[in-house]
Amino acid sequence: MLAINKKPSYISPSSLGTFYKQPNKFYMQRMAPNPMPYEPQGIAAAVGSAFDALIKAHIIKNSTIIDPAHVWSVVYNDLYSDKQKEEFKDLSLKELLFMSSVEAEHREEVREAGNMLMRKYINNGYNCCLL
């Protein structure tokens, strides 16, 4: 039998997809000794993450019910490494959302694209009546 370094303590919607559609990759990334590294974020995914971060920051800024300090601590406490925790500890919520979800190599390149998508979204959907 293949060696098992560790078994996942939680499963998620994305790991469910990987497990059934990419079973060998799931083992190599999640359970194998010396696991295979995760693929780096592509530019399209980075743009999507930039948009996500910026629109969330916009919503929080304009909300009277969402507590920015709570969201900040949720994101900060989920940071993967101590190095990131040290690097990001003084960031504003908007920057923390952005930096924690967009990989370093893409940050400069995708910030404007994320902003452009957010402006488009605000005028198309976000600010429109849901019904």
Binding site: L16, Y20, I43
Partner: protein
């Protein structure tokens, strides 16, 4: 305006399925939650951005409730009906929203709505398609069973036993596995 009530929700919870003694530990990072004006209940919402960097771009998936371009609502898709099951739009979206709904405390087997806003990018412009679909009890049962099968197979090693016999083979095969 969309009635957002929460964003960036990270949650760990145990999924309890009927007639099953094993709780399944689940972790989800949910984009946001909105109040559904049709039912006046809190439900999951997610964003999808698609088509960036693609020469031809992408079209919105069929089944949207509304679509906007240049600040104009162009109406709903011909396949849209009130309470369309979200899995008819996209099963992976529905799986995600289903999981987040459980994490929000919606009981397993109770139908609930979920929202997706898709930004569909094309060289000619960007459209925002809004999907409102139901997570049906039948679909929840399928998703719950998939989680249970996965969790059980990991715990009893049947999953690892189903793979190749040695690491080299598995590593080789993993390189060619794609989502689609």
């Amino acid at each position: 305006m969309l009635p957002f009530v929460d964003v960036e929700i990270h949650r760990k919870f145990s999924l309890f399925l009927p007639k099953c003694a094993t709780p399944i530990p689940i972790f989800g990072k949910q984009d946001s939650a909105v109040i559904d004006p049709f039912t006046d209940t809190k439900c999951p919402h997610d964003w999808k951005v698609s088509g960036y960097g693609n020469a031809t771009g992408v079209s919105p998936k069929p089944g949207y409730m509304a679509i906007w371009k240049d600040c104009i609502n162009e109406g709903s898709h011909k396949k849209y009906v009130m309470d369309i099951p979200l899995e008819q739009v996209d099963p992976s979206w529905a799986t995600q929203v289903c999981t987040y709904g459980w994490g929000m405390g919606i009981p397993f087997g109770t139908a609930f709505p979920g929202y997706i806003d898709m930004l569909a990018i094309r060289p000619t412009g960007i459209r925002v398609a809004r999907y409102r679909g139901m997570i049906t009890p039948e679909f929840q049962k399928i998703v719950g069973e998939n989680y249970l099968k996965m969790w059980t197979a990991i715990q009893n090693n049947s999953y690892v036993l189903s793979l190749g016999e040695n690491r080299l083979t598995v590593e080789y095969l993993a390189q060619f596995e794609r989502w689609y």
